[in-house]
Amino acid sequence: MQKVIQTHAKAADIFCRDESRVDWHSKALWVLREKRDRAASSLPEWETLRALGSQIKLHTLNQLPGYLEAFEAKCLSQGVKVHWAKDGAEHNRIVHDILSRHGVKKLVKSKSMLTEECHLNPFLEGKGIEVIDTDLGERIIQLNHQPPSHIVVPAIHMKKEEVGDLFHEKLGTPKGESDPTRLTRAARAHLREQFLSADAAMTGVNMAVASEGAVIVCTNEGNADMGANLPKLQLHSMGIDKIVPDLDSAAVLLRMLARNATGQPITTYSSLYRTPKPGGEMHVIIVDNGRSAMMRDKLLGEALKCIRCGGCLNTCPVYRRSGGYSYGHTIPGPIGIAVGADEDDTHSSPWACTLCGSCSFVCPTKVPLDKIIFHRRRLYAERKSLPYGKSGYMPLVGRFMASPLLLDTGMAAARIALKILPHSLLKPMSGAWGKYRELPAAPGSSFEGWVKKNRPELLVKSKGEK
């Protein structure tokens, strides 16, 4: 996959040119937000669950080494092999070693954003191993040679007619077929063949339960289970942040995961795996890949509370109108900015946000997403790598705003300009504002000017003013 280097604004501008598509994309995701609202409001204890969820994740992250070691020990005692990977490259090497030891030619994979993050598919394909993504949405975009555009509904950017065309080409469905049920049936038949002929299965991990040495995998299509139960060899990749202390804490998070993602009470399949099948092997690969570095910054570290429900993407007014591919990172939307801004070479993703805060309120584990995004901007400013020319103009704005004289005379001039100059002349000078909106109507004077003229007795000078 070729990485496209362009700022979020530029990518979003291109996405926005097809307004009917933007409306369709925005509405499709808003439907999920509405379903989430209904599901969340049906639980009187929703806000209590959120508070608990946040505490569980914070508690575990604060004692991560202890819980990870306990998890490993329990896994080993149950015959599960555990591997540790410091980054994506090491993760991919470990996976490849295991697969090649078993002579694996075909791997069926179930939804894992972590393997996307590590770019596992192209790595394995380069080594001659066929990788089949088995989640329907993931399979669609894999056939279309695209990365996910959403963490829960990865093919949300494609219309059913486009899926129909793709399936016609790749799976031989009738031309013009766009009925979702018939397309799903065709995909299911195709995927059954893959499951039956695979040598190994790999899944992501929604939660890893320290006390049980178990991994929990949630899917709606049962594809993780079809994969893990058929071949002898099963692999599970998890970030270090996926650990939870026990089944009670997992239960709190499971009650919110699907409700906040799609409005379902729970995912259709929420499976626990904790021992290899008879004669088989089970491997868990525990991956850091920048997570412990992120935890050194207390606020950024809170992003690791995320349970990947995708709720923040569905509610984000910017994501819904700019699409998943505009963010320059595997994970898009608010959580993508929080965990992945450093990988955006244009430095623009933290500005793909109005700081409206809806994401933080929708989040089931109370990740302070808007605060993290705000903080990301400050880190860029401190590194002197601001986008959109800000390092050039912001000092000028700062000086202008700090001087009542400059501010007053400058704004007085602007008010006069707005009054006497034709707006057609001013609009190009006002950049994006005038391109899309009418300029403000100019008042005759400032409020301070009005007070001086009409109510001078109100004026007081502070002792602090220099």
Binding site: T354, G357, S358, K461, S462
Partner: protein
């Protein structure tokens, strides 16, 4: 009460009518109002861009305008600026004098609802109002329960306006989705900001209301520019203007 008016630069320079309405309504309610000189911007355009160094002088200038001013409360008719002022004052000055200023800062809706409650209005306002629930006011100042929140519902703007005879209150679809202004976002991310503004303005217009009413002048300015560009049959009004008309 003795109230010092905090009029952020946008209100002072571009929307003096909002400040005049605020002054007038506070005086009608029997408060003594003063206007400290030397106020400037709260620093939000800079801090929202990450540029804290560039915001420092501006913020301290504004803070100094209020230091030592004798008053019971400092009231601001702009939610987003008030939040920024509070946070930036704290960021750049940790002195007790600064804290004394911070402790007196109130957004207008908050002040009229929580601090010196207005229970009665004298004049009817026969208008249909579509309420603009601006993000910083609802999610950072608790002016209303955000739609994502599943706890008790409250809405201080609606509570105030519903005490006025004749007023009909309604909400746009996706009632508290951001309007897309976002300060420099409106310029940096022109296309998305414009689309958000367009969707929001249209949703307000679809209610058939006479006015979009809100507590945040920056969102109202953004919506106003969009409404006029699209020639939608609705106008923007600040909460202070409606309340002042009813007194």
């Amino acid at each position: 009460m003795k109230i010092a008016l905090f009029t952020p630069c946008l209100v002072n320079q571009m929307m003096p009518e909002v400040a005049i309405a605020t002054l007038s309504l506070l005086e009608k309610l029997g408060h003594q109002v003063i206007f400290p000189q030397g106020q400037t911007c709260c620093g939000q355009p800079m801090t929202n861009s990450g540029c804290f160094n560039e915001a420092k002088n501006t913020t301290l200038k504004l803070l100094n305008a209020f230091k030592g001013v004798e008053c019971d409360a400092i009231v601001c008719p702009a939610a987003s600026c008030l939040v920024a002022a509070k946070e930036n004052f704290h960021e750049f000055d940790k002195s007790p004098e600064a804290q004394a200023v911070i402790d007196k800062l109130y957004e207008l809706t908050e002040f009229l609802h929580d601090v010196a409650p207005v229970t009665q209005f004298n004049r009817p306002v026969a208008k249909k109002l579509s309420l603009q629930l601006s993000c910083h006011g609802i999610r950072m100042l608790d002016l209303a329960a955000p739609s994502e929140y599943m706890g008790p519902r409250y809405n201080k703007m609606e509570a105030l306006l519903s005490r006025i005879d004749g007023v009909e209150i309604c909400y746009p679809e996706r009632l508290d989705e951001c309007c897309g202004f976002g300060g420099t976002f409106s310029v940096d991310e022109g296309a998305v900001s414009a689309k958000m503004g367009k969707d929001k303005a249209q949703a307000h217009a679809n209610t058939g209301a006479d006015y979009v009413v809100g507590f945040d002048p920056s969102c109202l300015m953004h919506l106003d520019g969009t409404i006029r560009r699209r020639q939608l049959p609705i106008e923007t009004r600040h909460l202070a203007q409606i309340l002042n008309d009813a007194l």
